[in-house]
């Protein structure tokens, strides 16, 4: 689930969809928005697993004769010679290991530092939660996303083959979105009918085309203008659900409440869950 633009309602739709899918069969909700994970605010999981996400960084040994090869090899300015001494900047390091490979004296070892966490736990029968969190001040969100994906996809299936995984992706269109979305059976785009929303939906659609993922659109805060519907029709992308603009929804979401268990919104999410199940099964049949 993604959107391009932030604040269109990805997490609102993803948490309510996951909650509804969880009542139909085994479901995992995975919060890949590691810079700002908010799914737990709505889903109230019990955290039973909390693992550090780490990145490696260079540790320079006694036998270093600053020769400049490691700092020349580093693409991230994480090593520098200053006054005949080699300095390291772990916060800039991407953990690629190029410096250790470039060092002719084997003087560089690596240590690990924590840059975030990946967590998981149950929400309800049939519904499990996973989240990644990037520590404040850290920039390697992709490392946490990759670590989270390993955790979320390594978990043993909870029963049937039709277990669903709802991936709540970050906004934007960069590497983290790609690492979270790649290989999905369906890209569900949460769109809002505004000029900004439409522009960024276009970016998300082009990104999903590059990843060759089948797509569907959910119109959130629908004002009846048809702005998103016309765009989706032009692009040949099915609209599989909509939630009308409603201050009651805005207030419930503001307070961190799920709305899928309440009328009149329950029907919206039941229909969406059925459409998603249909489309992802068709995707499996085609592959």
């Amino acid at each position: 689930m993604l959107s391009g633009k932030g604040g269109t309602g990805k997490t609102t739709v993803a948490t309510n969809l996951a909650w509804t899918l969880g009542s139909l069969g085994a479901t995992r909700y995975v919060d890949y928005d590691v810079e700002e994970p908010d799914g737990a605010i709505f889903l109230h999981p019990t955290v039973d697993q909390d693992v550090a996400a780490t990145s490696r960084y260079p540790v320079v040994g006694e036998n270093c004769v600053p020769c400049g090869r490691c700092s020349a090899a580093c693409s991230y300015h994480a090593l520098a010679e200053v006054g005949g001494q080699l300095l390291t900047f772990p916060e800039l390091c991407h953990g690629c290991g190029a410096c250790a490979l470039a060092c002719p004296r084997g003087a560089i070892a690596e240590a690990e530092r924590t840059i975030g966490h990946v967590r998981s736990g149950p929400i309800a029968d049939g519904l499990d939660w996973y989240e990644g969190v990037l520590n404040e001040g850290e920039s390697l969100a992709s490392t946490v996303v990759r670590r989270l994906r390993r955790l979320a996809e390594a978990a043993p299936p909870q029963g049937d083959e039709a277990a669903m995984l709802v991936a709540d992706c970050p906004p934007g269109s960069s590497c983290e979105v790609i690492h979270a979305a790649e290989g999905s059976d369906l890209a569900l785009l949460v769109a809002e009918p505004t000029r900004f929303g439409l522009h960024d939906l276009g970016i998300a659609v082009r990104l999903m085309r590059a990843l060759e993922l089948p797509m569907a659109v959910f119109v959130n805060k629908d004002d009846g203008s048809g702005l998103v519907d016309r765009y989706a029709a032009t692009e040949g992308i099915p609209v599989i659900g909509r939630l009308p603009f409603d201050l009651a929804v805005a207030r419930a979401v503001a307070r961190g409440e799920l709305i899928a268990g309440r009328e009149p919104w329950a029907a919206v999410f039941t229909a969406l869950a059925e459409a998603v199940l249909r489309l992802t099964r068709r995707g499996e049949a085609a592959s």
């Binding site: 391009g4 633009k5 932030g6 604040g7 269109t8 997490t11 928005d33 590691v34 810079e35 700002e36 908010d38 605010i41 490696r56 090899a73 693409s75 991230y76 300015h77 900047f89 916060e91 800039l92 991407h94 953990g95 690629c96 290991g97 190029a98 490979l101 470039a102 990037l134 404040e136 001040g137 850290e138 920039s139 390697l140 969100a141 970050p170 906004p171 934007g172 269109s173 960069s174 590497c175 983290e176 790609i178 790649e182 505004t194 000029r195 900004f196 522009h199 960024d200 970016i203 082009r206 990104l207 590059a210 990843l211 201050l247 805005a250 207030r251 979401v253 503001a254 307070r255 961190g256």
Partner: protein
């Protein structure tokens, strides 16, 4: 020259609406859209394009087929899983390649070179008030942080050329690479949030990042009257993290109308526009107190990432 970064943590809180309005009120600040992954400022800032330049922000491993023996040393060295070999042929997954170059050091046959990859376009335009720097990140390109840094550089160069003392930066949501590239070296942060649990949670994380880099921050709650209790809670929590309150913006349908017409909301007037005018006066006073021109305490971290 001083730089004001408008950021939010959570997406969709109204960063771009506020940034565009502040730009108009400033009467000539250079504008920089640093949300390069989902840029929107150009949609509400009438402008004339001036120049564009391709940006090569990444490198990608390229294999010399004649020299490669398919030994898989590179595959073992790559920590990002970007190299895979099938039989004796090694393939580079360009979307996964981080451009670190570790493989070139691991290859015993000197068969890998790093080639520059275009990741986007830096665009320079003239808006009604002043210069406007923005960018288009190529689809599925990596390295938005570096492109952000390039947009900021372009905006700073323009500001110096035009003798303009203020750059207003419209930032990306989040707290990671793109946001860090947006705020490092900025003089002041304006954090735009909304009265929701998510907005609150994300703002606290953002203020911690601002604190990490030692950049002073002001907070504004947009659409504050949707949930007044949450607004008060957010303001108290912000003060607790050392941030000042810049003001509140009420929910106002004129914001949506301005967006639809492609104009800053201050061009239409109304309650939200009036609130942003007050916020601008406060920001202007706060900016005047700052030393500016990079005289802030330095941090060792560089821009980009």
């Amino acid at each position: 020259m001083k730089q004001l970064a408008v950021v939010s943590g959570k997406g969709g809180t109204g960063k771009t609406t506020v940034a565009a309005a502040l730009g108009r009120l400033s009467g000539g600040a250079v504008m920089a859209d640093c949300d390069v992954e989902a840029p929107n400022l150009h949609l509400v800032l009438p402008h004339t394009p001036l120049a564009e330049e391709a940006f090569f922000g990444n490198r990608v491993a390229s294999i010399d087929r004649a020299a490669c023996l398919g030994c898989s040393s590179c595959e073992d060295a790559c920590r990002f899983g970007a190299l895979r070999h099938k039989g004796r042929i090694v393939w580079v997954d360009e979307r996964t390649c981080e451009g670190c170059g570790a493989c070139t050091y691991a290859c015993p046959h000197d068969a890998i070179a790093m080639e520059p990859r275009r990741t986007g376009t830096v665009l320079l335009a003239r808006a009604e008030g002043g210069a406007f720097a923005h960018a288009a990140l190529d689809i599925a390109a990596d390295g938005s942080g570096k492109l952000v840094t390039e947009v900021r550089r372009s905006a700073a160069v323009q500001a110096r050329q035009d003798g303009q003392g203020l750059v207003i930066i419209d930032g990306a949501p989040g707290t990671g690479c793109a946001v860090i590239a947006t705020i490092t070296g900025s003089d002041l942060i304006l954090a735009v949030t909304e009265p929701t649990r998510s907005g609150w949670h994300d703002l606290e994380r953002l203020l911690d990042v601002a604190g990490h880099f030692g950049i002073p921050a002001l907070v504004v709650v947009n659409r504050w009257d949707i949930e007044p209790d949450l607004t008060r809670g957010i303001e108290a929590a912000s003060r607790g993290r050392g941030a000042e309150i810049a003001g509140r913006i009420p929910f106002d349908p004129a914001v949506g109308r301005a967006m639809a017409e492609g104009l800053p909301v201050t061009a239409l007037g109304g309650q939200a526009a009036a609130a942003i005018e007050e916020i601008w006066e406060r920001l202007r006073a706060r900016l005047e107190q700052l030393p500016g021109d990079g005289r802030r305490p330095l941090t060792l971290r560089r821009e980009g990432g």
